[in-house]
Amino acid sequence: MHLIKCPWCGERAEMEFTYGGDGTLTRPADPEAASDAEWTDYVYFRDNPRGPHEELWQHASGCRRWIKVRRNTLTHEILATGPADRPLEGNAS
């Protein structure tokens, strides 16, 4: 089975995890001042990269923690994982 390394629980089966979307988004710093275009970009528009992509996943059946996963969208290879509250180690590409 495909394994994803949870930063706390270790390598676990992919079925224990839930996909949580793009992990590189940043919410507009000043919500009141952000324009409709900026909000639309943040809420709806997503890149669809071919290759390494930084994503959020949740270890839903395990420790319930959100984690960051760098995954190759072409091969489904997991390149790096780490806690969600800090940048992933290593280069994005």
């Binding site: 629980c9 676990r12 089966a13 224990e16 395990g62 420790c63 319930r64 923690r65």
Partner: protein, 210 residues
């Protein structure tokens, strides 16, 4: 006056003692651990005031390392997630355990919740116990990867469970390996049906409940 209803097992009526499945010597035993006190504790593992308070009430050091447990004095503390634990106690009132922990923690930044009635604990024991769970669980249940005292939250028959490796028989346990499966009460019957169905090929005994 508040009337406290007696605890009623989620497997009441489904759990029927006897020997079932394939003939010959049964490969495993299924039973339910009843009347356990189960308390969920959350707090900062790096705060000595928190860890000392829990040690003071339970006599056990909180397991800080992932997927490990601490056991003694009839109590077990299971690691669930960073800063989250389950304190399980046999032969103590859950309300007493909960209020005891809460009193010990005082104003420390922590949360204590009695979840005894929300969990069902099924004990799977015997040589084929890991084989039975492996039918629906992606955890590596081999004694090398899941030794005595290990625990892990995972999925069993697509139901979220917590598996506790109580005894792998390394020190000559008679009924080993013993694995405890913690499941949310609402899923208990469904899981029980999965386990009894899957255990048929090994032959299994269901222990009578007191």
């Amino acid at each position: 006056m508040v009337e406290v209803l007696p605890r009623r097992s989620a497997l009441e009526g489904a759990l029927e003692a006897g020997t079932f499945g394939a003939g010959g010597t049964p490969g495993l035993t299924l039973s339910e651990r009843r009347r356990l006190a189960i308390v969920h504790v959350a707090g900062d593992a790096g705060d000595p005031a928190f860890t000392d308070a829990v040690r003071g009430r339970t006599g056990l050091d909180l397991p800080i390392e992932a997927n490990t447990t601490a056991a003694g004095n009839g109590r077990t503390i299971l690691w669930l997630a960073p800063n989250r634990w389950l304190v399980v106690c046999d032969g103590e009132e859950s309300a007493a355990l909960e209020t005891g922990l809460r009193d010990a923690l005082g104003s420390t930044f922590a949360a204590v919740n009695d979840v005894s009635q929300g969990r069902t604990v099924i004990r799977v024991a015997g040589a084929r116990a890991p084989d039975l769970l492996a039918k629906g669980c992606p955890l590596d249940l081999h004694a090398r990867a899941f030794p005595t005292g290990a625990c892990g939250q995972s999925s069993l028959a697509k139901i979220n469970v917590l598996v506790h490796s109580v005894d792998r028989g390394a020190d000559g346990g008679t009924d080993a390996p013993i694995l405890d499966v913690y499941v949310a009460r609402g899923f208990a019957l469904s899981l029980w049906e999965f386990l009894t169905d899957g255990a048929g090929e090994f032959g299994y005994t269901i222990s009578p409940m007191p």
